[in-house]
Amino acid sequence: MKILKSIIVLFILIFFIGCSEEEEKTSGDLQIGFTHKWDEIIFRPHTDIDNYYPAYNIDSLRITKLRYHISNIVLITEDGTEVFLKDYVLVSPLNSDAISSNNPPVDPLVPWLIEHSFNIPNVPFNDYRSLSFTFGFNETDNINGAYSNLNTSSLSWYWPEELGGGYHFLQLEGEYSNNSEESNFEYNMGKAKVSEGVFEPNSFNVHIYNPYFSFPHTSEISRTILIEMNLAEWFRDPTPWDLNIYNQNLMDNYDAQTIMNQNGRNVFSMSVTGIIDIN
């Protein structure tokens, strides 16, 4: 009988210890998702591959390849404390593998339009005010061949040494139509070659302010940050992109790389799904 009592006491202790751990939880899973649109039109990979979008000085364009990577992703609190989330992530929404790995979405509150997402465990609970990352790699991190998963064959992410080396930051490719004549374009971004042997890093920092992002949440549903790219901005602001001039062979074109850098600073915005605490 004493043994039975001991077992019961043991179970009760385990039960209470389990409860107290949950009460003391100070961190949780955070999902980072990426979504893409052309102004108000949601860009749906695969099904929208034949969609044509209006752009400067041409009839229209369609996108057949979109890949990019961001690095040094951090959350920032109101007092400026930075919480490191991830060293880098490659977003490839038109890649069927990437889609299948996120389909269906793991989070029921994540809209279906997320094309690529990843999970960050153990993110400290706090009131965050902004998200920051580098588009591409900064000069220190953009090391030729250093990341074996970016060397992966299917990416073709290598940036030629003659152009400064390292990796592509963006591959945005497709077709444009002007005066009913169709041509291809390759909007490939990486290091900018100023002159022979002289290069500029060409990455840029993105800082997205969101005043209503509080983490923790009050339920077990994980929270998702949606990073949204407006593809139209690559072709618009501050410099209207003329596909009649800049369409192919742009990796070695300093002017084109500079415009990409400037226009790219306006492409990102952010929203948060899950239970949002409005302070």
């Binding site: 057949t64 074996s148 060397n151 064959s153 299917s154 291809n184 192919q248």
Partner: protein, 357 residues
């Protein structure tokens, strides 16, 4: 109560043991055989894909090699895998279309086989219709224009063979032969077919100096305004020399063989075929998914001035309106010299890959 407690405790002990006890002890274990990974691969790209349920073993690879060269899998016992995938051709053949046991031909060129363990997406065939090397090996046996057999017959022939049941036991711990084990063995052998010792590899390793012509050719290969081959066919950090994905490379204005499009059902994929590796081009003619080009010169001419526009043509195809970028004759010669520097004679002559039968 004490009696009941004892029963419960003893019961728990037995139930925890029973998981181990009901398992049939597998005393036989084949000998592990790690892949011999070339230094550039180990240094620069991700590890090869080896299914957890089909580890490489000495016995499995030996069995796969024997099966690969044995015509026993074909309907009339006349054709082996090696008939269309011979080592002297870097495991393809020299025909535009391979001939099956009934004298029939298809409409695709036989693909070379090497470095397949690094096909990370695991989509095989020109149109990517099979997943995994094991899955790929299922089809040729039953394809009516290839080996034209059934797996039931093939398995029975192997089961009744004097040697195979014992060889399967050595490889997999069972002498009961089925198609899964056959394809596992063949896949194990195919994963050992690794080519990583070309002149260009030696150049990267610092043990050989390339000719000026070869180096010029590499520059053209990497130059976005000239060859721009590297966006699909690798670079110094991707020593596979392929992206293993699917492109419409401007072969036809009117697409009759839709390739990947027939697999995905997506019209946007029509006319797309897998980029082959540029390794071993010296041995793998003819070229393209339909073997239409007999020489490398024809291939280079195609990309330089022979491109045909079509709705799904890859944006990487330059200056399609004028047929291509029109590199000079001298640049073509240099580019060809570089391409041939990716050939690996040691690979095709490796005694471990030859017919053991």
């Amino acid at each position: 109560m004490r009696v009941w407690l004892k029963i419960v405790v003893i019961g728990c002990l037995f139930s925890s043991c029973s998981e181990n006890e009901i398992m049939i002890p597998n005393t036989y274990q084949p000998t592990p055989l790690p892949l011999e990974i070339p230094p550039l691969f180990a240094e620069r790209i991700l590890d090869p894909v080896i299914p957890f349920n089909n580890p490489q073993t000495v016995e499995g690879v030996a069995l796969g090699r024997k099966l690969f060269y044995d015509p026993i899998l074909s309907g009339d016992g006349s054709q082996s895998c090696a008939d269309c995938h011979s080592p002297e051709n870097a495991f393809t053949d020299s025909d535009r279309f391979s001939v099956g046991i009934d004298g029939n031909v298809g409409n695709r060129n036989s693909m070379p086989i090497f470095n397949q363990a690094w096909n990370y997406d695991e989509n095989f065939f020109w149109d990517g219709r099979s997943f995994g090397l094991e899955g790929q090996a299922i089809e040729p046996v039953k394809n009516p224009i290839e080996m034209h057999n059934t797996w039931v017959v093939a398995m029975a022939n192997l089961q009744n063979h004097a040697d195979y049941p014992e060889l399967f036991f050595q490889a997999f711990g069972t002498s009961t032969i089925d198609s899964v084990l056959v394809t596992k063995a063949i896949a194990q052998f195919e994963r050992t077919l690794i080519s990583g010792n070309s002149r260009f590899d030696k150049h990267l390793l610092g043990t050989l100096t390339l000719t000026t012509q070869e180096l010029n050719g590499f520059d053209i290969f990497m130059d976005e305004t000239k060859g721009d081959c590297f966006h699909c066919h690798g670079n110094v950090n991707n020593p596979l020399w392929t992206d293993n994905i699917f492109h419409n490379n401007g072969l036809d204005a009117i697409i009759t063989d839709v390739g990947l499009g027939a697999v995905t059902g997506n019209p946007a994929d029509n006319g797309k075929f897998k980029s082959p590796s540029l390794r071993n081009l010296q041995f793998t003619a003819p070229y393209m998914h339909d073997g239409r080009f007999e020489t490398l010169d024809e291939v280079i001419n195609h990309y330089s001035e022979g491109l045909q526009n079509s709705p799904t043509i890859d944006p990487l195809m330059k200056a399609v309106g004028t047929g291509g970028v029109h590199i000079t004759e001298s640049e073509k010669v240099d580019l060809k010299a570089f391409l041939l520097s990716l050939s690996d004679a040691e690979f095709i002559n490796n005694p471990d890959f030859q017919n053991p039968n």
